[in-house]
């Protein structure tokens, strides 16, 4: 309408230039990109530690490093990956970008709080980085007491402060999402018209605001005990290490769902779009997210089966852990049912989604092995556990994160990634991942304990396989890094809605304008309503076409 054809369209990226316009932005889309930068940095840092670990484990004896260094390496790998990549990853990047767009809002409810959360993340990150540079930590990412409070001479205090601070960025993000989803939905966007991505982010946010404060106070008590040498957790001083484990896992088991629920949300979007139909049993999948958030808080005791827990408590926690598998299974079945007899197009994002379903299922099923107290005592603290949670966190969260990045890349940047390269690296990642972690199931079952720099020679073959897989996986994640950056300049410019997708986020231009929508959208259709007739009708109603020049 205001057809000045030659002028490039103004969107959130080219609206303002300069460092200041980014560092002081309150636009959720720009903050998402700030988070993307920070989180990517930490992903590669955590990856570098993983490389060091796998290199050392190529041979049975300690030739690259000795125990002290190795302990620091796996601790920092865990700390960096868990607190600075996996937990903020999908919510703070994709969630930040998409939650307002998907519900038809102009921004999150508290834009300045959103920016603050990014700064808090970085302050925590700086403390942790400083701890790493000045010698590192060697307690394991779980900071078990009394080693962490009394005996470790590494930088526990600094790392603890870093994690304490970063926790608040997570809390603020969750708080922002909850309030936004409650109060800022566009007219007609009822709860059961919400994309499943929003449901899963709502559930995630609940965990963030209910769980994170507990780990914050726990880390604080740990730090105080370390400073004052008064027993809270150290039994020699009258304290109780079991209390630490309870408080720590009260958060850290649900934290697994902070990592995996948003991933499930991404997968729901991808499956619905590439199967071109509504998710089978939409309401069940939506409620499954909420059920996971609630039941996820009842199972933490399964981390303490070998802490002289009574059989009665063990049975209860074991039973509850089995129960929490039900909603996850509901999701997997419903995704599969959605794909059944649908017109699937195998683009890169869908490949990642399929990878997620397969790998997460393996991760989840082996989780059931571990939830059975009898078997857990056999494989407790072995590579079986390591393989299990990497199938959930890398096979689950990382796959979905990559799938989501590809899927929404044209929305975020207004450029298309190169499909051929993307498919190729998706394949490499899948192969590399399985080669890395599947042997670890066997190693664990055969009794190789985790967290040791050396091992008996009979474990070498499988360890070499794992290291080989890790190098393939490493290359696999480097490719996207390169072609994403490349595509920002040279990538094809796609249409506003290259996937023909149906979410509200696609009903505005790509990249979106700062205020997201030219006019507040009015939702008159159900979630994932792909019937073409209705779609034309609705598109007409929405008046999207006329805003395009």
């Amino acid at each position: 309408m205001e057809a000045i054809v030659d002028q490039p369209r103004v969107h959130y990226i080219n609206k303002e230039y300069g460092v200041k316009s980014w560092l002081l932005t309150v636009d959720h889309k720009r903050i998402a990109l700030l988070y993307l930068a920070s989180v990517t940095l930490f992903f590669f840092l955590g990856g570098a530690f993983a490389v060091a670990l796998r290199l050392e484990l190529m041979t049975p004896q300690g030739d690259l490093m000795q125990a002290e260094t190795y302990n620091r390496m796996f601790t920092m790998h865990g700390v960096v990956m868990v607190f600075f990549f996996l937990i903020p990853g999908i919510p703070a990047v994709l969630g930040n970008f998409l939650v307002p767009l998907m519900i038809g809002a102009r921004d999150l409810a508290f834009p300045r709080l959103n920016l603050l959360s990014w700064y808090i993340y970085n302050v925590g990150a700086i403390f942790t980085l400083y701890a790493i540079i000045s010698g590192g930590v060697d307690t394991g990412w779980t900071f078990y007491t009394p080693y962490s409070t009394t005996y470790s001479s590494s930088n526990v205090l600094l790392t603890g402060i870093g994690i304490f601070i970063t926790g608040f960025s997570s809390i603020l993000t969750g708080l922002n999402f909850i309030v936004t989803i409650h109060t800022m939905r566009a007219p007609g966007m009822t709860w059961f018209r919400l994309p499943l991505f929003i449901w899963s982010h709502y559930a995630t946010s609940l965990i963030m605001i209910l769980g994170t404060p507990v780990v914050a106070i726990t880390v604080l008590l740990l730090a105080l005990e370390r400073i004052a040498r008064v027993g809270i957790f150290d039994p020699a001083l009258g304290g109780d290490p079991i209390l630490f484990q309870h408080l720590f896992w009260f958060y850290s088991h649900p934290a697994v769902y902070i990592m995996v629920l948003p991933a499930m949300g991404v997968v729901s979007e991808l499956i619905a779009n590439f199967a071109r139909k509504n998710i089978f049993g939409y309401k069940f999948v939506a409620f499954a997210s909420m059920a996971i958030a609630v039941f996820g808080f009842l199972v933490w005791g399964h981390h303490m089966f070998t802490s002289s827990q009574s059989v009665y408590a063990g049975m209860i926690f074991s039973f509850l852990s089995f129960a929490v598998a039900i909603p996850s299974a509901v999701k997997v079945f419903n995704w599969t049912a959605t794909l059944y007899k649908s017109s699937i197009s195998y683009s890169t994002p869908l490949l990642y989604a399929l990878g997620f379903i397969g790998l997460f299922t393996i991760g989840g099923m082996t989780g059931l092995f571990l939830a059975a107290a009898g078997l857990d005592i056999h494989v407790h603290d072995t590579y079986f556990v390591v393989a299990h949670f990497h199938y959930v966190m890398v096979g689950g969260t990382l796959m979905a994160y990559m799938g989501g990045l590809h899927y929404w890349w044209p929305k975020i940047t207004g450029r298309m990634y190169p499909e051929g390269w993307a498919k190729f690296s998706a394949l490499i990642i899948f192969v590399g991942f399985n080669l890395t972690f599947f042997p670890q199931f066997i190693l664990g079952y055969q009794g190789m304990p985790r967290r040791y720099y050396a091992y008996p020679p009979e474990f070498q073959v499988l360890n070499v396989m794992s290291t080989a897989g890790a190098s393939i996986l490493g290359f696999g994640v480097l490719f996207p890094m390169v072609y994403f950056v490349w595509s920002m300049r040279y990538g094809k410019v796609p249409a506003d809605n290259p996937w023909g997708a149906f979410g509200l986020e696609w009903q505005t231009s790509s990249p979106p304008p700062t205020e997201n929508f030219k006019q507040t959208p009015v939702v008159t259709w159900e979630a994932y309503e792909f019937s073409p007739r209705d779609k034309m009708e609705i598109l007409g109603l929405r008046g999207v076409e006329e805003t395009k020049v």
Partner: protein, 220 residues
């Protein structure tokens, strides 16, 4: 959309004042939930060690000055009343009394902190700071008594920190009130900060009996 910008106190991304108020209130409640869980971890530690070491805890608690604790309880309850009245006067649009109530609330909050500081000072003089030359010659295992004091300082210290933050918030609200920023239709900042203030009061309502009155019946 353009005309909404002219509404006093309405941020650009909200449709109307009602939506903004709802978001603010809900945001504060969500924040208070995190606060409940934050203090919850401390209460968990308290429950555990109190049931493990009842004698030491009771004897250590008996040494706290319950009169000062009770006085502070009264101070905080009165401040909650003045806070509630501040909200009332902001709703009825009475600027003068709103400011009076805010000032009173702040004075009471400061009083609480002064009393608390006085108590802390006594503990310092009596060598009752855990980890810093802690000494105990009365009944109960000194190590366990020290744990009580550790929890005491952690809980009341974090609570006092919340009071300080609360005073900061009140100062901002007071400034806004004096600058005529509130009207009968726009005063949700007063209400929302009120929620915070009352919450901090509630924490103390639990801390007082749990910390100060444990050993009261054992007589001194």
């Amino acid at each position: 959309m353009e005309d909404t910008h002219s509404v006093k106190g309405l941020a650009h991304h909200f449709d109307d004042m009602e939506q903004q108020r709802e978001a603010g209130t809900l945001g504060m409640w969500a924040f208070l939930i995190t606060e409940i869980m934050f203090f919850g971890g401390l209460f968990m530690a308290y429950i555990l060690y109190r049931s493990k070491y009842p004698e030491a805890f009771s004897s250590a608690s008996g040494h706290l000055n319950w009169r000062l604790g009770a006085a502070n309880t009264v101070v905080l309850i009165v401040s909650s009343l003045t806070m509630a009245l501040a909200v009332y006067y902001s709703q009825t649009g009475n600027k003068r009394l709103l400011i009076t109530m805010l000032v009173l609330t702040m004075i009471l909050g400061a009083t609480f902190l002064v009393v608390k500081g006085f108590e802390y000072h006594t503990k310092w003089v009596d060598h009752l700071i855990p980890g810093f030359g802690f000494e105990w010659h009365l009944a109960g295992d000194p190590q366990k008594v020290q744990m009580f004091y550790f929890i005491y300082f952690a809980m009341t210290g974090i609570h006092a920190l919340h009071m300080v933050v609360g005073l900061g918030i009140m100062a901002v609200i007071l400034r806004m009130a004096m600058k005529d920023r509130f009207t009968q239709t726009y005063h949700s900042p007063v209400e929302i900060s009120g929620l915070y203030w009352h919450f901090v009061d509630i924490v103390w309502i639990f801390l007082f009996p749990l910390l100060y009155l444990l050993g009261a019946h054992e007589g001194h």
